[in-house]
Structures are given as C-alpha cells and as structure tokens.
Symmetry: C2
Subunit: 344 residues, 2 copies
C-alpha cells in the first residue's frame, strides 16, 4: 500500500510500504477515506533529524473497517469510524475517567511502531476502545467536520474545558491555527460571553469571527497583553486557550489571564520549562492541559456536528489526494492553507 513517510526535516514522501494488517486480536484494519495534515506535523517538518527508515506520518482519520481481530466485539467490518490521534483500550481506570490519552495502553499514531493515517490503510490497536462508529455514509457532506473529531475539534474543546470557559466568562485564544479556531468554536459552544482571538492572519481571524469570536487582537507580546487588558476592563480574561506550544505564546497566555484565571494548553510544548512562573503565581493563574482525550469527547461533540450547530470542518480549507501530501505540508508551512484534508 502507499503511505506517507518523513525522512528528515522538509523531506516528506509518499511511497510503497508493506500492507497494513491485523497483528493482535484486539486490532482493526481500516481503509482510510479521509485524513489530514496536523499543525503538530510541522514540528518534525522543521526539526527532524535524518532517519534511514523514516517515520510514518498522520494521526487523524476517518475510515472503513476492513477487518477485525478475534477479540474485537463492538467494532464491525464495514463500520465507518473516526480514528482519534491516540489509541486507548477503553477499559482502564484512566479511560473510565475520560482521560483516554493517559490509558495504560496508550499509543500515538504516526510514530515508531505504529501506522500513520496519511496512507491507504492503518492497523488500529485496541479497536473497541479507540474507534468510534459513525451513523453516516462515507461520502456524507459532513465529512470534514466529522474528521476534526479525530483531533483538532476535540483538542480545542479540551483547551476550553481545562481553561474553565463557560457562561459569563471571557476567553482569549492564543493562536489562529486549526486548533485555535476550534477553540473559538468550543468556547462559544460552552457559553463564553467574550471570545478574543489572538492572531495575525486575516483569513483566519475572519473565520474565528464567523465561529463566534467577539474581538481580534493581532498584536504580539507585551502589546497584545495590553490590548487584551484594555478589552476586559483592565484585568484580563478568565480563560486562556494556548494553542501554539512555544514559550512566547505561553508567556502571552499567562500575561492575558485575569487573576484567578486558567490557561488550558494544548499546543505541544517546544521548551523544557513553562515561562512566567512568577506572574502566574502572583496572579493565582493555573496552567493545565495536555494531549486531549478526544476519544472521550466524541460522544459530547458529535450531535452538534451532525445537527450542524458547529462547523469545525471549515478549518479544512484545502483538499489533496495521497500524492498531494508533500505539497499539503508545504502549503500549511507557508500559511497558504489552514489545514489540509487528504483523500487517499
């Protein structure tokens, strides 16, 4: 079959690899019908050291179940399923608590030893815990929005939940990428009163406004902090969604938080420490978040997607075939596309 392999920074290839196949009795094999390129794929695209064997890429998919192992009981051949970016057994204490990304058997797609989703097919471990069967056909018009339940919509939702977004609350979203835009949707959906998107790409902030953002702050650093304070009676926002992962973004996030507020971070941290320890301390600002348990959120978010109340699929503004994946990386890296959908 064909799959996407990254060999070093900037070197993404689509090539023949051994066919994906069931290896464990709890596995399923899915034929990928939709995948995408993630903002987090751009980190290795910038930094990956050369590798002889390369790394399979992609961790977000919708697909059709082609085969299941002997111990798979809930997921069936022919199901159309969402594949979240992490697999999880669905039965351990963390899965039962809803923190599927801390599952005792957790693993992440597009890594050493796992298949990647930017491919024709994927072996899915712990299929019963991992996959979520959809009640629609494989070419349903809602496909882009459903695909975001595999990562970015659930991730934006996680940031909003951790940051305590809700009725009467003011929210700032740091980062206007796909996750930040989904964070705006999530904050709006949870009832936030004021939603400030912090970003400088006009097409993206326009989409943020369409999703419910009430204010746009395009400044950076200390100027951005002053602008947000000016928009919030001088004190900052209750909830900050940090959707970038760089120290400067976190410093801004802490800077715009109101005393007693919270930062929900979902951008994969690119540094060893969290900056602004003292401002966070003296403001009693909490910093939480991490890999979103998107599997656990699908049940909550799906009805809003199916009934059209939220349209996170609008962040997928370019579509490519499998051959177009390398070009998709380039387009996202050059900020020509917000997020690229792949139709293998």
């Amino acid at each position: 079959m064909r799959a996407t392999v990254m060999y070093e920074a900037g070197d993404v290839r689509v090539e023949e690899v051994p066919d994906a196949a069931i290896a464990e009795p709890t596995d399923a094999l899915i034929r990928v019908t939709r995948a995408c390129v993630c903002g987090s794929d751009l980190h290795p695209y910038h930094q990956m050291e050369p590798s002889e064997t390369g790394t399979r890429m992609g961790h977000e998919a919708i697909g059709v179940v082609e085969d299941v192992g002997s111990r798979v009981t809930k997921i069936r051949k022919g199901d159309l399923v969402v594949m979240p970016f992490a697999y999880s057994d669905g039965t351990c204490e963390f899965c039962r608590e809803g923190l599927t990304t801390a599952c005792v058997h957790v693993g992440f797609f597009g890594n050493e030893g796992t298949d990647g989703a930017q491919a024709e097919a994927v072996r899915v471990p712990y299929a019963d815990g991992t996959l979520f069967a959809l009640p629609v056909g494989e070419d349903d018009a809602l496909m882009p929005s459903l695909l975001t339940l595999s990562d970015v919509m659930g991730t934006g939702h996680h940031a909003a939940v951790v940051a305590g977004a809700g009725p009467g609350k003011s929210v700032a979203v740091v980062g206007d990428g796909a996750v930040g835009l989904c964070g705006v949707i999530a904050a709006k959906r949870l009832g936030a009163e004021q939603i400030i998107i912090m970003g400088r790409h006009e097409d993206r902030t326009a989409l943020a406004r369409a999703f419910g953002a009430t204010d746009v702050v395009s400044e950076r650093g200390e100027e951005a902090v002053e602008r947000v304070r000016g928009l919030t009676g001088g004190f900052g926002v209750h909830s900050v969604l940090e959707c970038v992962g760089y120290a400067q973004a976190m410093e801004t996030a802490i800077g715009v938080a109101r005393p007693g507020g919270a930062v929900g971070r979902v951008g994969v941290p690119q540094e060893e420490t969290i900056p602004a320890s003292l401002p966070a301390f003296f403001g009693n600002v909490a910093v939480g978040g991490g890999p979103a348990p998107v599997r656990a959120y699908i049940e909550e978010l799906l009805p809003d997607v199916l009934e059209g109340r939220i349209e996170p699929g609008r962040v997928l503004d370019r579509v490519v075939g499998l051959d177009g994946v390398p070009e998709g990386y380039r387009a996202m890296d050059d900020r020509e596309a917000i997020k690229v959908m792949v139709r293998p």
Copy 2:
C-alpha cells in the same frame, strides 16, 4: 515603638522606630499580641542585598485594635483581630469572588511602605476588609492555632483546594515546614483518603502523622517519585501540595502527580520558570496556586479551630519575646524550630 528590621541577609534587628499611627480614614491601628516568623522570611534572610533603611519584617499577627480611622465601620476599638498577611478592601470584584490577594488595593505587610507584624504595633490599611474579629479573649489557649489563620493554615488550605484534595483522593505534600504540615491538616479536613508527607525531618513528619498523614517519604528527587508511585498503585497522587518554592520541589511535585492530577503551589517561587513542562503536559497535570486568599478562608476554618477539630497551632513549637526575634530567625534557619511565635 519597637519593631523588627532586616538590613541585609542574616542581619535582623529589633529597634526603635516611629510609632505606628492611623494615616488613612480606612486604617486601623493594632497593638500586636502575637506574631510569628514565616518560612518566607528566610528567603530575604538568605538573599537580601544590603539596605540603608532596611525592611520591616513580619506579616502574620493577632492584635487588639487601639484606634480606627473615620471611615472604618465594622472593626471597633478593643476588638481582638486576626491580621492576614495581605490587606484587601473587601469590596472589589476579586474580594467578592474570594480572591482577596488579587484585591485592586492589595498590599503585603512587611514590605516597602507597610508596617511589619514582628513589632509592638501595626497600621492596617482597609481595616474593614482586612481584619477579622475573633470571639475570644487575647490570652485564650487557642491563640497559636488562631494565629495560623493569618497565613500558614490558610495557605496550606489554599494548596489543598487548588490541588483538588477531597474525598477518595490521594494527596502528596512536598515540604514538611509549617505550611506543608498545615497542608496535611487541610487535606485531611477536606476528606482525602491517602496523605503522603514528603520530608526528611523526623520531628516534623511525626507531627504530620499526628495531623493525618498516612505515609512518609523521606527520599528526594527521582527516588522520591518512585516511592510515591509505589505507594499509589504505580500512577502517583491526584493532588500535590507544593509548599517549598524551589524548582526541585516543583519538579518532584509534577513527578508524583497522577495523569490528570493537579499541583497546588503556595511556596513562593524562587525561579523564573516552572520546570518539567513536558511531563506536566503529557500527564495533563495542572499547576495552579499562588498567594493564598487567607482572609477569605478564615470564616470556613475558624469553627474547626474554635471547636478543636484542627490544631494547626502545633506547628508553632517555639515562643520568643520581641527581643528574641533574631534568635527566632536563626532557630528556624537551622531547622531547630518549625515555626517561631512572637509575643511582643
């Protein structure tokens, strides 16, 4: 009057200063009947640069109101009052939310421009918001425990609240100083099931056990993390109270937290950044906390002190007069005393 002044690291003097007096119509003047030396006073005791004028020291007191300004309406001459370490107006939006340490008029005793509590008298700004009148006499046997409501008991409680300590939860307390010991009391009081005190002073960990600690971990660093994991089924604790303030303590705190857990930090951070960003992120561990709104907690904690259900005053294991304050600093610095009470 006589007051404690620090001139540089290690140089603490008790000397004549101008009498404290009402300066604003919202002030009260209190005669200090009890004060104490705080673990946080040891930071300048180690690090303070030489100063010509020196800094007044002390921020925890019980005292008798000697005089009030013309706009003080709730606090009256003759009241015996708890003076929390921070003053607050009691009326702004943060005070109404219970975050008195973010009051728009907040200030901290024992700093530039304020009186210190290790003294005969103190001018208290925003007396109606700041002071809490006690229903007992000035020599009541409960005085040590009541005095802890000015800081360490409320601070330990804050750490426990921020860390989500409660019924069925496992808790680790990093630091066996007065705040850590009060954190044990707070965790027990909030219903925690397992309370692990992390410290290496046998007299202190023995007191922690008396306060409700179920386990003692005297190792440090990676060994300590392994021990706590071993005591908690391999995963760590739900709630960590970080009561030290050094980066190594925070690293340990994040290391012993269970995925999805929370760290409540109340030790004043001595570094610019928070360590262990990646472990905290990948474990979805939240780091919160800051200066405790002890004024807001007095109402909740006082009945338990008055009725003897908690005895935080046991952390005050040495008593000195005002002249004995410099010796009190030395004794705490040498770990001869957990916390020193001052009777001016």
